[in-house]
């Protein structure tokens, strides 16, 4: 409800701004929605959104799986932590743009280079968060698992994963928003389709309507992913914290 009010206020502010300025610089909501409709009818909007979303998912999945594995090892093993930490710090401080340009120079203007560059930008953050989680694993529960001879699978499933879940959720949340922003830059610099590419086109043509017609649906899409995918998942993995309310729900 409050979200709705706040969104409406934003729309009004936008309309107000559009009245005050040149429509070429800031077109009003009505004009932009019309353009969105046009692009949707031609199918270009959906194909570009789908392409960009696929890149976001691929880069995100790559970064999260490597990040989780490396972060876990670094959190559990002192030697690995000391060996890899300087690399991690370097990667953390490397500007996204440098990684992208280097990837394009070394691997050409290819899909692999694009997705690899995005994944590499997200990787250090995933490592840091999961390493924190791996360091915080409860040694008491580990002793318990040892005494009761948990199998490696049971240990992973019932001990490690539930304890890492909040950290993985945090990495997912911050990771998604980071990844989709970088994907646009990668598309702008070296791809010939996707939302980032269209925004670049709009910029060349100075077509603000087109620019917003791609930017807004994409933001809405990512908001939808966050609200309907990430948040429910987060609630699902932390449901045991609210055991009482859950059982009351069932009654």
């Amino acid at each position: 409800m409050i979200r709705l009010v706040s969104l409406t206020a934003l729309l009004l502010l936008w309309q107000f701004g559009a009245w005050l300025s040149d429509p070429r610089r800031l077109p009003g909501p009505a004009a932009v929605f019309e353009k969105v409709y046009e692009e949707a009818l031609s199918g270009a909007l959906f194909s570009n959104l789908a392409i960009t979303l696929a890149r976001v998912i691929a880069a995100f999945a790559l970064a999260m799986s490597f990040g989780a594995a490396i972060g876990y090892v670094m959190g559990r093993n002192k030697l690995a932590d000391r060996l890899l930490d300087p690399w991690l710090v370097t990667l953390l401080n490397l500007p996204a743009l440098v990684v992208i340009v280097l990837a394009y120079v070394w691997a050409g203007l290819t899909e692999v280079a694009a997705i690899g560059a995005v994944a590499l930008n997200k990787l250090p953050n995933a490592i840091v968060v999961v390493r924190e989680g791996a360091r915080a694993l409860d040694p008491h529960l580990e002793d318990m698992a040892h005494v009761f001879r948990f199998s490696p699978t049971a240990r992973f499933k019932h001990l490690v994963l539930p304890q890492l879940a909040p950290y993985l959720a945090a990495a997912t949340r911050s990771g998604l928003s980071l990844v989709w922003k970088i994907v646009l830059v990668v598309e702008l610099l070296g791809r010939s389709n996707g939302v980032g590419f269209e925004i670049n086109m709009a910029f060349q043509l100075f077509d603000m309507k087109l620019l917003l017609a791609y930017a807004l649906p994409f933001v809405a899409l990512m908001l939808g992913v966050e609200t309907f995918l990430v948040q429910p998942l987060e609630r699902h993995v932390s449901r045991w914290r609210r055991g009482v309310s859950r059982r009351l729900d069932r009654v």
Partner: protein, 254 residues
Amino acid sequence: MNDTSRAGGAASLDVSIASKDYHSARGSPRRALEDLRLTLPAGQAGAVVGPSGCGKTTLLRLIAGLDKDYVGTIVLPEHGRLGMVFQEPRLLPWRSVIDNIRIAAPHAREDDIAALLDELGLAEHASHFPRELSLGLARRVALARALAVKPDLLLLDEPLVSLDAALAKDLREMIARLIDERRITTLIVTHDLAEAIALADRIFLLSPRPARVVATLDVPTPRRALEREMAEKLETQARDALAVARAGPQQEKH
């Protein structure tokens, strides 16, 4: 340096620890156990009684194989399947009571688990999460989990500590009944002599840190026949031994 092995035949738990030291980052190592010997026949319950901080939990950790950094020998009962109730319940907070038991005892039959829950008065709590349980209930779940694996050796670390008198009495009677029925070789750690006399066939009195067994007392069985007078005599005997141990090093007496 150390050797943990499995016994064949009737010989059961046999502990002989020359020394156990804790090493801190700086400073000299601190000795927790020294020349500690105890033997517990198969099917019997033993109680380790000693003052707070003397090394009781350390001893259980060595027996459970959680700490291998010691000098000495520990011989476990045949097969060496362990059940343990830690000083804190240590349940998986993200799993229900019954799942906690199932996960620790994947080979246990469902009706055995149900019977166990029933026997420990946990049936109505089967689907509860650990954070919804009082300490007394959580302890019982930990006990159910330890029994569900059908252990050859059951280790209980202060199973009654920080429960109020009525709850402690309930749980004590439950433990007594369960280990009597099942004839599980059991080692109970406690600092309460009365508790030890109520539960154990054999009592090992420990000295203050570094822990050593200063006296081994056999409690006459069947326990039901144990007269009040006899119990008091045992307690006096035990207290004397402890007082001697506190006063200074002394030879072990039987």
